[in-house]
Amino acid sequence: MGQQRIRFYQTGSFAVGNRLLDPDQRSVQSDTRRTNSLNSGHRACQGCGEALGARYVLDAVMRATGNQMVAVNATGCLEVFSTPYPESSWQMPWLHSLFGNAPAVATGVAAALKAKGRTDVRVVGQGGDGGTVDIGLACLSGMFERNDDVLYICYDNGGYMNTGVQRSGATPHGAATTTTPAVGPAPGNDFGKGKNLPLIAMAHRIPYVATATVADLRDLEYKAKRAMEFRGARYLHVLVPCPLGWRTASNETIRVARLATETGIFPVFEAEDGDVVDVTKIRKRRPVADYLETQGRYAHLFGDHPREDVIARIQAEADRNVRVFGLVDSAVSDGRG
């Protein structure tokens, strides 16, 4: 277990902070001196998971690098809501070029810093799932293959939300988007399509690949910090629920991310040199229906004409995750009763 285990302190190690912990054991987010890399006044929707995830990750990287960091951003929500000219919410050096070339630009920045002998300044590239798994995949794969010294972060909300909720290669099966409407015999996004980028990244045998969600800050911060302990190409895939595209209430962003992990829909793990080295176990396993029924994008699976068959296929995918990644401790009952 790579993650630091904290002794039992009232709310355990799961809350953001804890008055009973030594300051060095507390999260970056509990510190009033955190960077707030993404400042107030950004135009993200109420309860935006991506805005939250970006601040979580970048604040942790800023802490890990002693504030010596440059970020390169792909086009997408994160860029649009943070930087309407001439305003910006970013409180660190930040660069935007095109939708598809963020990994290549990040490579260039890293090369320039290397040429100047500034190896103390670290580079991160970041984008949404559209910019990462679809439009920027070629540049990203090249960055991985060359093992350029960049941490690339994908904030996965499962679609092109900024442009009006279109399907991406990361849209989950069965989910409705404006381009995969909930009509016909197989409503929503087709099964059997889509890409699992953490596994694609691992196939490049890069030094470090990890997944995380906005529901478990301590785990997310650990992974951002851990990623900065490596040189070379690293990939962090963060699940960030989108109230707009998932059609959830703005106060449910974290809850729904938690359900994604507790149901086995989204496996949380880390891998080094292509091999999984650690998995975050599910504390209380839940059926996928608990996750699906909170979201409007799956509303067509419930109601007067429920699609038990589709729910069963999604459950089978979650079961496979649990099996393949070993998400449930064998000692703990899986609680699906």
């Binding site: 009232q10 799961f14 009973l20 400042n39 107030s40 998971g49 910006s88 106060n251 962003t253 809850r255």
Partner: protein
């Protein structure tokens, strides 16, 4: 500000300096506003002594045991006693019971009480003397609790009791294996040390006379008279009452119960006397009760411990006849209303003595002729401020209508002290408004790590019945700390920083010392802080638009 700006109008298509998004006050999007609230924790709500349990657990979590103890002492001068004998309504109400097991509040209280005795902590009297003198009749938990609170409010207090030692039922009713006497002595001494004048072997017989010497009177005479039942009995049958047996033991009179003892009744006193009989050498102690176990008034833990110690139970039975060496039992059945009805079936049982534990009555001789005082069913009627119909005479504890436990009595003492204090000042005591209850559904329990309750070590049953040694041991500092940290802090901020962390708009300001503030310039009202607050201490309120 760019160079260009300083020198007149901007040229066309020039690059502007980077501006901050702080100019964009996203607070204008908000339709709901988060506010920090304080809700009433279920433990505090359930405590008959009105302790602020959550607050003293919070001090304990920080290993500040003295502050925790002082918080208890604000409401209850008997933490070490109550940490042993309280029936823990707080733990019954505890929200953690829904998650795994209730927090061991009682065991932490005992740890703090014992720690205070060990460290010799004392409480000060901060109020200046009022010049008023209050008489307290009865040195039981209620009377001493009132005396303690009145002394701390600056009044002069005299406590009179007819017994030769103070403590009331804490000493004369509860056996030593549940409550060691050195603990009672230490906590009473601390009250005496506040300047309370304690007069023992001093029965009060004339209240009218007392009222001429004192500015107010608090009556807490308890209920020390065993309720009798007319059991047909032979001339040589040995029939005793439980209260006398327990009190006699305390005065050094070993009661002659014999080897086979039948105890008649199903309350806590019945359990106490049956277990005491075992310790005095009875080979067979049988509790005879006319209904079933689930209808027994005795608390479950007492019944369980009695059974462990070899006490036998005869449910659905009444004693029809008692004679030397044996009793006749009639079997009962419960009718549709749950009331026991005789069946006409009889059975004989060997018993050298019968101890009646059928409830207790108060000796109300003192007040029965006092003008204005109303006595109904052997209890004195009091108003919500615990004042009787006679001005300046207050009453509490077992002699007024209420549940008869030491914790309730302590609560009465505190309440009466506040009322008496207000009455002496010519005002009325205003009880602070109660907050809304902190219910389980408001908690976000994902954030609490799994942690089963700490179990207090107990003496083996075989060793218990040979001595009056205390059965249950206390926690040590590390286990008490762990137990306190199991508290969920229901309804009140526990400084976990979740709100500060989960806000996507950095609109929660952490002020330190457990204080946070919402930055309404930027709060979009998404409600994440409220949804992710583990303790349910944030509520969303609609904005007036």
């Amino acid at each position: 500000m760019s160079e260009a700006n300083k020198h007149g109008p901007l040229p066309f298509a020039i690059t502007l300096d980077v501006g901050s998004s702080l100019a964009n006050k996203t607070g204008s999007w908000r339709t709901e506003r988060p506010e920090y609230v304080d809700r009433l924790p279920p433990c505090n709500n359930a405590c008959p002594a009105g302790e602020n349990i959550q607050q003293w657990l919070k001090h304990t979590e920080e290993a500040d045991y003295e502050a925790a103890w002082r918080q208890i002492m604000a409401d209850n001068p008997f933490p070490a006693v109550m940490g042993r004998i309280c029936y823990r309504p707080c733990e019954t109400a505890c929200n953690r019971a829904t998650l795994d097991e209730a927090v061991g509040i009682n065991s932490v209280e005992r740890f703090l009480g014992d720690e205070a005795i060990k460290q010799g902590w004392t409480v000060p009297v901060d109020a200046s003397p009022t010049g008023k003198h209050v008489l307290v009749v009865g040195a039981g938990p209620s009377g001493l609790s009132a005396a303690y609170q009145l002394a701390r409010l600056g009044h002069q207090v005299t406590v009179r009791d007819s017994c030769s030692e103070a403590g009331g039922m804490m000493r004369y009713g509860i056996p030593a294996y549940r409550l060691p006497r050195d603990v009672v002595d230490a906590e009473i001494q601390r009250i005496v040390d506040l300047g309370v004048n304690l007069e023992l072997d001093a029965p009060v017989t004339d209240l009218e006379l007392a009222l001429r010497c004192f500015d107010a009177v608090f009556l807490a005479v308890g209920a020390h008279v065993g309720r009798r039942a007319d059991i047909p009995a032979g001339a040589s049958a040995r029939i005793l009452d439980a209260v006398s047996v327990l009190a006699g033991l305390e005065d050094g009179d070993q009661p002659l119960l014999g080897r086979r003892v039948a105890v008649y009744g199903g309350g806590n006193t019945a359990m106490d006397v049956a277990r005491t009989a075992r310790r005095l050498g009875a080979t067979d102690a049988v509790v005879v009760y006319r209904r079933t176990r689930d209808r027994m008034p005795a608390h479950d833990i007492e019944v369980k411990e009695a059974l462990e110690e070899g006490v036998r139970m005869r449910w659905l039975s009444t004693i029809a006849y008692a004679d030397a060496g044996r009793i006749t039992i009639e079997k009962m059945r419960l009718d549709d209303t749950g009331f026991p009805q005789p069946t006409g079936e009889f059975e004989e049982l060997a018993a050298d003595s019968v101890v009646l534990a059928l409830g207790q009555l108060s000796d109300l001789e003192l007040v029965k002729d006092l003008p204005g005082v109303t006595i109904t069913d052997n209890v004195v009627e009091v108003g919500p401020d615990l004042m009787t119909g006679h001005p300046g005479v207050f009453a509490g504890g077992d002699m007024v209508p209420s549940e008869r436990t030491a914790t309730v009595a302590i609560g009465h003492g505190k309440k009466a002290a506040h009322s008496i204090d207000a009455w002496l000042r010519g005002t009325t005591y205003e009880r602070p408004d109660r907050h809304e209850l902190a219910t389980y559904d408001r908690l976000n329990t994902w954030y609490y790590a799994d942690a089963p309750a700490t179990v207090r070590p107990r003496l083996e049953p075989a060793r218990r019945i040979s001595t009056f040694d205390e059965i249950t041991s206390g926690l040590d500092a590390s286990t008490a700390l762990f137990e306190a940290r199991r508290c969920l802090s229901c309804g009140n901020c526990l400084e976990c920083d979740n709100c500060f962390g989960v806000c996507p708009d950095n609109a929660v300001i952490k002020l330190g010392n457990g204080k946070y503030e919402i930055d309404l310039d930027f709060c979009k009202g998404c409600g994440l802080c409220a949804a992710e607050c583990p303790s349910g201490a944030i509520t969303m309120f609609p904005e007036r638009i």
